[in-house]
């Protein structure tokens, strides 16, 4: 790990200013992804701003009946929160489908959104990777690509976003609240928050330099059945091959997001309207523009079948 200086942030504003004034600085919250990457020198910040003491760890009801989740709410606490379990079961289910108990105790809501891909070529510093070293090439294209993205890919990158939580946030139309270093604030719909790889796969979100996530806000509950179905190589503690996050109403309408298939949580609002017609039609709408490799073509069928299982479960 490279040496770095360390400070404990005294306020959101001070943290955002400190980060904006030093392009080599990073915020650290749970640290479970950042420190892993720093040990491998994939991340090499020269300064860490510890934001754990800022009190952004509360879950509050909003004026319109939604839920504001502080950026530093740990994954365990969010999954166990009474309101989340009752009204946003999809979120609770997605959270406990991810990582291990130890990691969920540290991992935060904001950090979960910002975690980086687990593409093995991103992790292997001996291999070219446009995300790790812009312009060096993509080793996954033409390499072992069974786990990789099938839709929204580019010639520069076919990595997936690893988060389970973000799939639920996407299906639930969450809004990411941020504070910028100039003191201004903005609310970013989750659909706009993560970027597709394009020519710049190393730029993963629309956050500006120093911009600080303060909370993630959920709209008022949608009702319906909340289901998160994750298909993975082990029964526990493994990243998704594909995952389906869905809220399905009694009449068969609903909302659905897919994980393990793209550089961001994959949600096509037009596909939601197809849900009453069944899994085949909905999956076709979701993956219409898919460009799978020979090795991950199976994900196209797997999404349809996993979605079929979700729709069947919702009918029970």
């Amino acid at each position: 790990m490279r040496a770095f200086t360390y400070e404990r942030a005294s306020s959101v504003e001070a943290a955002a200013k400190a980060a904006a004034s030093n392009p080599e600085a990073k915020f650290i919250a749970g640290g479970t992804n950042l420190l892993d990457l720093m040990k491998l020198e994939i991340e090499t910040p020269t300064h860490l701003i510890d934001i754990n003491g800022l009190g952004l760890d509360k879950i509050e009801t909003t004026a319109d009946g939604g839920l504001r989740i502080g950026a530093l709410v740990r994954n365990t606490d969010l999954a166990a929160h009474e309101t989340v379990r009752r009204d946003y079961g999809l979120l609770s289910r997605a959270l406990v489908a991810g990582a291990s108990g130890q990691l969920r105790n540290r991992a935060t809501t904001a950090g979960n959104l910002l975690q980086r891909t687990r593409c093995p070529y991103f992790y292997d510093t001996n291999q070219p990777c446009n995300k790790r070293q812009p312009g060096s090439g993509c080793s996954a294209i033409g390499g072992f690509s069974r786990q990789h993205a099938v839709v929204g890919t580019s010639d520069a990158c076919i990595a997936t976003h690893p988060s389970d939580m973000a799939i639920a946030m996407s299906a639930l139309d969450a809004v990411v609240e941020t504070a910028k270093s100039d003191g201004s604030r903005r609310s970013i719909p989750i659909a706009d928050f993560h970027r597709l790889p394009g020519d710049t796969p190393h730029i993963e979100t629309i956050l500006e330099s120093g911009e600080f996530i303060t909370a993630v806000v959920l709209p008022p509950p949608f009702g319906g059945k909340h289901i998160y179905r994750k298909v993975r190589d082990r029964a526990s503690y493994a990243f998704a091959i594909v995952s389906i996050g869905a809220v399905i109403q009694q009449d068969g309408t609903g909302r659905v997001a897919v994980g393990g298939v793209a550089h961001k949580p994959w949600r096509i609002e037009a596909a939601d309207t197809e849900l009453p017609k069944g899994a085949r039609v909905t999956a076709s709408a979701l993956l219409a523009d898919a460009r799978p490799t020979e090795q991950n073509r199976f994900k196209i069928d797997l999404v349809e079948r996993a979605l079929g299982a979700v729709i069947a479960e919702a009918r029970d």
């Binding site: 892993d36 365990t76 166990a80 289910r93 406990v96 291990s100 540290r106 526990s236």
Partner: protein
């Protein structure tokens, strides 16, 4: 560096501490070359924390993980370094009542925190019930993952009691049950390469007072 823990100098301990000194010296030399004059006080921080009920004030390189602080600074070597990337669970300790991977957190991030390691759970002659159950059920072979398994299992039973749900919890709106399936799922962050899993589950299930 403060070192209030008196190590009993047996032949084995002497060999272990010599090896650790060599390893630490080696790393420090390499780092000094790499960092040159930039390695200075600004890359060091003070941190005060409680470990197994004792208070410690440490001066650590910012890079020091909680795991390395426990092992190299406090000589509490019960906590093990397995993968050092949060994948194996050998480094599991309990911080402010929560189990975490001590390899994926910096010591400086734990100012004022209370840490419990395997040494704080119990000692020979006064074992924690889970330590005794692991011995009784032969819940290990080589033993390297065991401190992490035991710290994790202590916290798992507390997590179920605190009604924290897991991936296998059926109804999210009712109290989580203490079942072997729940325990297996919740222990998935602790890997045992000897494959003592069935005996580990037996040990935890016995302490939990549920039927396997």
């Amino acid at each position: 560096m403060q070192s209030p823990i008196q190590l009993e100098i047996s032949r084995r301990n002497l060999l272990i501490s010599s090896a650790a000194t060599i390893a630490v010296t080696g790393a420090a030399t390499g780092e000094a070359v790499a960092q040159g004059a930039r390695t200075s006080m600004q890359h060091m921080s003070k941190v005060s924390l409680s470990v197994n009920g004792e208070s410690y004030n440490l001066d650590v390189d910012n890079r020091t993980t909680l795991l390395d602080a426990l092992r190299e600074h406090l000589h509490l070597t019960g906590t093990k370094k397995g993968c050092d990337h949060g994948q194996c669970g050998a480094c599991t300790v309990i911080v402010d009542g929560r189990r975490i991977n001590s390899c994926l957190t910096l010591a400086v991030m734990h100012d004022g925190d209370e840490v419990i390691t395997i040494e704080g759970l119990g000692q020979p002659g006064a074992l924690h019930p889970l330590q005794a159950a692991f011995v009784k059920h032969d819940g290990f072979q080589c033993g390297y993952c065991t401190p992490g398994q035991i710290c994790s299992s202590v916290a798992v039973l507390e997590e179920i009691k605190a009604n924290i749900p897991s991936h296998v919890t059926g109804d999210l709106t009712t109290q989580a049950a203490v079942t072997p399936a729940e325990i297996r799922e919740r222990m998935s962050g602790n890997i045992c390469r000897c494959g003592a899993y069935s005996n580990i589950i037996d040990a935890i299930v016995e302490v939990a007072g549920t039927k396997a």
